[in-house]
């Protein structure tokens, strides 16, 4: 054995039962630093991280900036609008605009109505869509594929094309022409119309013409019923998407789960309610969030179903459109800027509750869809 070999052996300083202390020559800090940080791989990693953050922050900025600019202008005092130095950050904070909208416009009524409508339709849609989707996902019956194609079709045909027909439908809601038949209008099914003397002599309903009933049907506009009817039948806005998502989710649920339940004597429906629904809660929360927020922000259907000015919803009310009279002309020098600020504040107050709910639930939104096992085949 030569000496150098002995030297390179670690010297044991202290040895106990559990610990051992060893002297050894450590590579110098400079060398270690070089090896770790001054390499091409490390450089690549750093550059990539920076690029990634720039991209993410940039897009986050695009998403958030409109909110930021609106919030800041809504918090500005009137004097700030005359100050050319004030751009994005208010100099004098004031909540006058919020106060005025709260007190002078019927914010709380509209808020309550919108909440009621969104909650009820979202609950119904989530449940009905999962019911229908389960049928499509787990049962083989004749026409399964065709019916599912029809689900996609209901999603594809834009409701804007059908707008007039939808309005007419719910202005005089009449299933299979029963109402018009009973009031002497003859037979009218699917656009086919036939009438003769005998049929028109059947006039049980007479010429009722109240607020709710007309000879042609039930008047459902300006109520929540159109939403509820469309939700119960899985035809409401984007319900095709919900059915698609839930079907994908249910298809990922192993069949053995249900089979074992069937063997234990549980029926199809009992299995669905006690076993399938509880495990699909994450996905259902996602669908619930979708339908809740899309009902809340929906401007199209509320215009179709609520005619005239008696619409009690946030989006169809005067909030964000009309200006509260007490603060309307506060900034005479820069009136258009001021009035825009009032309008955008109204808009912010419309979406604020939704954003608050989103902040609490966004975790579930991503979770639900991540666990959906969505593979699209």
């Amino acid at each position: 054995m030569n000496t150098s070999n002995v030297d390179s052996k670690p010297k044991i300083r202290k040895e106990t039962k559990n610990k051992i202390k060893v002297d050894f020559e450590r590579t110098s800090f400079k060398e270690r630093f070089k090896a770790k940080f001054l390499t091409l791989t490390f450089l690549k990693k750093v550059v990539w991280i920076i690029v990634r953050y720039i991209l993410l922050i940039g897009v986050a900025y695009i998403v958030l900036f409109p909110f930021f600019s609106k919030i800041s202008s809504s918090l500005m005092a009137p004097s700030d609008f005359n100050d050319s130095m004030v751009r994005l950050i208010p100099k004098n904070f004031s909540v006058d605009i919020y106060k005025a909208i709260f007190t002078e416009q019927e914010y709380m009524t509209a808020f309550g109505n919108t909440l009621l409508l969104s909650l009820s339709t979202a609950l119904i849609q989530t449940f009905v869509c999962s019911f229908i989707a389960y049928g499509f996902a787990k049962f083989k019956f004749k026409g399964n594929k065709i019916l599912f194609a029809l689900v996609i079709l209901t999603m594809i045909i834009p409701h804007r094309t059908l707008q007039l027909a939808i309005t007419n439908m719910f202005a005089n809601f009449d299933i299979l022409g029963i109402f018009s038949f009973l009031s002497g209008g003859g037979i009218s099914i699917f656009g086919f119309e036939y009438n003769n003397e005998f049929l028109s002599s059947i006039n049980i309903l007479g010429n009722i013409d109240s607020k709710v009933f007309t000879p042609d049907g039930v008047r459902l506009v300006n109520t929540f019923w159109p939403y509820i009817i469309l939700s119960i039948t899985g035809l409401a806005f984007k319900n095709g998407l919900y059915i698609f998502l839930l079907r994908q989710f249910f298809m990922g649920v192993p069949d053995e789960l249900e089979e074992s339940a069937y063997i234990d004597g549980s029926g199809v429906f009992k299995t669905f309610f006690t076993i399938i629904l509880p495990i699909s809660i994450p996905m259902m929360i996602t669908v619930f969030l979708f339908s809740f927020s899309w009902c809340w922000t929906d401007i199209y259907y509320s215009k179709v179903f609520f005619t005239g000015n008696n619409a009690p919803l946030l989006l169809t009310s005067e909030i964000g459109k009309e200006l509260p009279s007490s603060i309307k002309d506060l900034v005479p020098n820069n009136i258009s800027k001021w009035q825009t600020a009032i309008r955008t504040t109204g808009g912010l107050m419309i979406i604020a509750p939704l954003v608050v709910i989103y902040l609490f639930c966004q975790k579930y939104l991503v979770q639900g869809i991540e666990r959906s096992g969505l593979t699209a085949d």
């Binding site: 202008s73 787990k138 834009p158 929906d298 401007i299």
Partner: protein, 320 residues
Amino acid sequence: MTDMLEVKVKKKRKKTVSLDKKKARAGWIFVLPFIIGLVFVYFPIVFESLEQSLFYKVPGDATARVFNKFASYYEAFFNADTSGFAQALFTSVGEIILDIPMILLFSLFMAVLLNQKIGGRAVFRAIFFVPVILSTGIMESIDASAVLDTMSNAGGIDDGSGSSAAGEIVDAVDLQKFFNGISLTDGMLKYVTDAINDIFNIVNRSGVQMLIFLAGLQSISPAIYESVQIDGASAWETFWKITFPMISPMILVNAVYTVIDAFTVDSTVMTYISTLKLTEVEKTTAISTAMSWIYFLLVIAILGILVAVLSAYTFYQKKK
């Protein structure tokens, strides 16, 4: 004796309902709400809409209608008052065709970024999915109420929507300088600059697509990536040879969704249709309904071609 026999026969008949049949029945019950809605609500609506487009009202008579032998579909293009329709139609269809690749690329790119392990991922996700809940265009409608704003050009509060001239992020001239050496055609250049200036719109419309892509990325087994890494594939190769094929069914779904979603956005042609006024008043309803059906059919034809092309390149892991 005979009684006994009858009972037995009945019992036997009951038993002959096979499990498959039972399950089929249960399936029908599950989809029953949809069938009821389809038959009693949806079909009548669609039929009435078609009827509206095919029947002209008779002048002077409020209820009478005359079958127009598809003339409304012809007149949608060739009526004296509808000269702008073809233009509006092709503008909108062109917008949809151009938007599809942009939205798909952007949402795929962002989904891949968000799928990586980086600090603050939860925060970024929360921010990026804000457009999902506001995707019915409410932000635009709030902005629209501020359309009169002198804000943007007075140098006041920029609403960030990039609609004002001052808000344009990238100018075509800048990009031309940037791509000086590369021979890009003007059309390509305009497409890129338009896309960048339209980024606000694109971000806001790709929320759901991002979610769907993210779900697809999550469903790819990490074992595949591991084995590829062992084989020495670079990140670039991994993306194109593993991630991209595995995510290709999602591209199909998202392409379809993007086209469908485009119908809910205010497009040039829909605005044209809703503001249509004909001198022959009794024809207005029929022709405007016909127009929206034409628009729908054209987009569906494009969607059909798109699906046919994409599904040829779509990779399915599970063979049916």
